[in-house]
């Protein structure tokens, strides 16, 4: 994948599109058991619509919630849901390094999704942050190992995605520092969601390039 393609991909898979795979994909999976054809049609339609209009899925869901008068914190709920594996992003190579990549990504997403449960208890939240730090380090180590071992011709895309992940990790750290001053948890949730999205993009990039 060239840089240009990566950029387009990034725009297409921007943060707002996270709602599509974090919220709607599990719904489609459930629907497939009832009506396979309808589920697949809906899935394809949503994917196409989201690609053309990033953020459309989130808007639809917000409207549904509003209509049904459901009072929830959408960002927090999204974070709680975002830990689930997205089949489209999982790397299906059998080699241990790629399985490690899947596993480390899953571990990081899982611990990030626990933030809403831990953030109100300072001691537990600090432990969660340490766990997040360990998970980030382990994921980056695995990414480095795979890049180094396989020495892809198109490593530029992988390096770029790694760089983006690091950038959002740093942003997450800065958000935490601000949180400990102003106490606004919502910003931590937003930043955590972004980091989960970047984690998924790393998997997607490796899946494409590998």
């Amino acid at each position: 994948m060239t840089m240009e393609e990566m950029k387009n991909e990034a725009e297409t898979n921007s943060m707002v599109s996270m709602t599509l795979y974090a919220v709607m994909y599990p719904v489609f999976n459930e629907l497939e058991r009832i009506n396979l054809s309808a589920a697949q049609t809906l899935r394809a339609a949503f994917i196409k619509a989201e690609r053309e209009n990033p953020g459309l899925t989130q808007d639809i869901i917000m409207k549904i919630l509003e209509k049904k008068n459901v009072q929830i914190n959408f960002t927090e709920s999204l974070l709680r849901m975002a830990a689930d594996d997205v089949e489209e992003f999982m790397i299906d190579r059998p080699e241990q390094e790629f399985q490690d990549l899947n596993e480390k990504a899953r571990a990081l997403k899982h611990i990030l999704s626990k933030i809403p449960d831990e953030i109100n208890d300072r001691v537990r939240f600090l432990q969660t942050i340490k766990d997040i730090a360990s998970a980030i380090k382990e994921l980056l180590d695995t990414v480095n190992n795979v890049i180094k071992k396989y020495q892809y011709q198109n490593r530029r895309a992988l390096e770029h995605q790694k760089k983006e992940f690091v950038k959002y990790s740093k942003s997450f750290s800065d958000t935490l520092k601000t949180y400990f001053k102003d106490g606004k948890a919502i910003n931590v949730f937003i930043s955590a969601n972004r980091l989960i999205h970047q984690t998924n993009l790393i998997l997607q990039t490796f899946k494409t390039v590998a």
């Binding site: 730090a133 980056l140 180094k148 990790s169 935490l176 400990f180």
Partner: protein
């Protein structure tokens, strides 16, 4: 005589005069004492602006009863019975002040870095305890006495006594106990303070609690930053492989802002650059890309390290360092290098050894890491160190990972690759040595003192 009005017993007169004198003296003392550096705290949880604890300090008046040393580390600070038993015994044996008088008046100064105790009058320092040495704080109300007991790490230098107490009996140590057959255990100290009332005790405990929160929060964020930096700056390529990708470790490092440069010693760069790599034949283009990447990366690390050396070592010490580095590069063992450096830096500057990591070749890295561990220097600082300690670079973990790049190479080419990488590192280290020597000479000329 005593009952006759207007006539006062001479004894009473003397006594009353003495009392009045003492009262007057106490009053004079009170008016002489300076005002405490204090702030109003928000109620009911006595919250204080964290900036005050980080950039300023707060003082509270206490009475210093004393410090118990060689207390078994398993003492439960939440157990009123256990703690009071120790205190009672200590008071009986005059290790702690018995009666509370103005002679125990002290001031506790609290910040995010330490608690400091000074005498109220004269302001002589009693002791200072860094925050990371504090294990627990307890409040015990014993009838009218409101005690705040702080459990701390054992201070090897011992502690001074309050003026009203005799010297501590140093023979009551756990080593003498062990002679009688008891098992040696970890020990701690108990700092025993008294305050006026429950509110004052709760206030002091809550202030310390906030200090702990600040310190542990800062350390945790530190840990996160270091983990990100470490993962980001681990290289992803072998030097000799062709690539037109200019985005490298340097680019990734640039994703960090200047904050990352506050950790010049946290760079745990893998030294795989000088390890045998895949056998793609070298080309001038490759060599240039490799040299460029290595030079840029090593130059940045060199810059960081030299900046720090300049601030931490004298010119003579810098020259000594250059000599040791030169000897190491010319064949002296890594063991000798480590020992000599440790001697040069001393205890207070042993952390400088961390910054040498990028310059230690892979073959010596394991010994170097082990050495760092034996002298108590790890990646981090303070309480998070152990957790982060597991992220040492693994020796040769990637140096044998040739992956799918093996085809097309020849043995001669491999040796050529190794030689060129080794030459590159030799050149860089020689440059470092020369630069450091030059730094030492220039400092001599400038007359700079550390």
């Amino acid at each position: 005589m005593e009952n006759e009005p207007g006539i006062v017993s001479p004894f009473k007169r003397v006594f009353l005069k003495g009392e009045k004198g003492r009262d007057k003296k106490a009053q004079e003392k009170a008016t002489e004492r300076r005002a405490l550096h204090t702030f109003s705290l928000s109620q009911p949880d006595h919250r204080i602006d964290p900036d005050i604890l980080l950039n300023d300090y707060i003082e509270k008046e206490v009475k210093y009863l004393g410090q118990l040393t060689s207390v078994p580390g398993y003492l439960n600070p939440s157990s009123r019975t256990e703690v009071l038993q120790l205190i009672d015994n200590a008071r009986k044996s005059h290790q702690l002040a018995g009666q509370l008088t103005s002679e125990q008046d002290a001031v506790v100064s609290l910040s995010a870095y330490n608690i400091k105790l000074v005498w109220r009058d004269g302001e002589d320092i009693i002791l200072r305890v860094p925050i990371h040495d504090i294990a627990a704080v307890s409040y015990i109300r014993d009838d009218s006495l409101h005690l705040v007991v702080i459990k701390t790490a054992q201070d090897l230098g011992g502690s001074p006594c309050p003026s009203s107490c005799p010297d501590l009996n140093k023979s009551q140590t756990l080593s003498s106990l062990s002679e009688s057959g008891a098992v040696l255990v970890e020990v701690c100290c108990l700092l025993v303070l008294a305050v006026d009332n429950k509110a004052a005790a709760e206030e002091l405990c809550l202030l310390l609690s906030q200090v702990f929160q600040i310190v542990y929060t800062e350390s945790t964020i530190d840990f996160l930053d270091r983990a990100i930096f470490d993962g980001a700056t681990t290289p992803t390529r072998h030097l000799s492989l062709y690539s037109d990708d200019s985005s490298s470790k340097v680019d990734v490092k640039e994703a960090f802002d200047a904050e990352a440069s506050t950790f010049p010693f946290q760079v745990s760069m893998n030294a795989e650059e000088n390890s045998p790599s895949a056998s793609t034949p070298a080309s001038p283009q490759t060599k240039t890309a490799s040299e460029g990447e290595l030079s840029t990366t090593a130059a940045e690390l060199l810059q960081d390290y030299m900046t720090t050396l300049r601030t931490k070592l004298s010119s003579q010490e810098i020259q000594q360092f250059a000599t040791l580095l030169h000897e190491y590069r010319n064949g002296s063992s890594i063991h000798e290098f480590c020992i000599n450096l440790r001697q040069l830096y001393g205890d207070s500057r042993k952390f400088l050894l961390l910054g040498l990591r990028p310059f230690i070749p892979e073959k010596d890295s394991q010994h170097f890491e082990n050495f760092l561990e034996t002298i108590g220097v790890k990646d981090g600082r303070g309480i998070i160190t152990d957790s982060f300690g597991r992220y040492r670079r693994t020796a040769s973990s990637a140096s044998d990972s040739n992956g799918n790049g093996a085809a097309g190479g020849s043995a001669a080419s491999d040796e050529g690759q190794e030689a060129s990488e080794g030459d590159e590192w030799d050149r860089m280290i020689t440059d470092i040595s020369n630069d450091i020597e030059a730094l030492g000479c220039s400092m001599d000329q400038e007359g700079v003192t550390p």
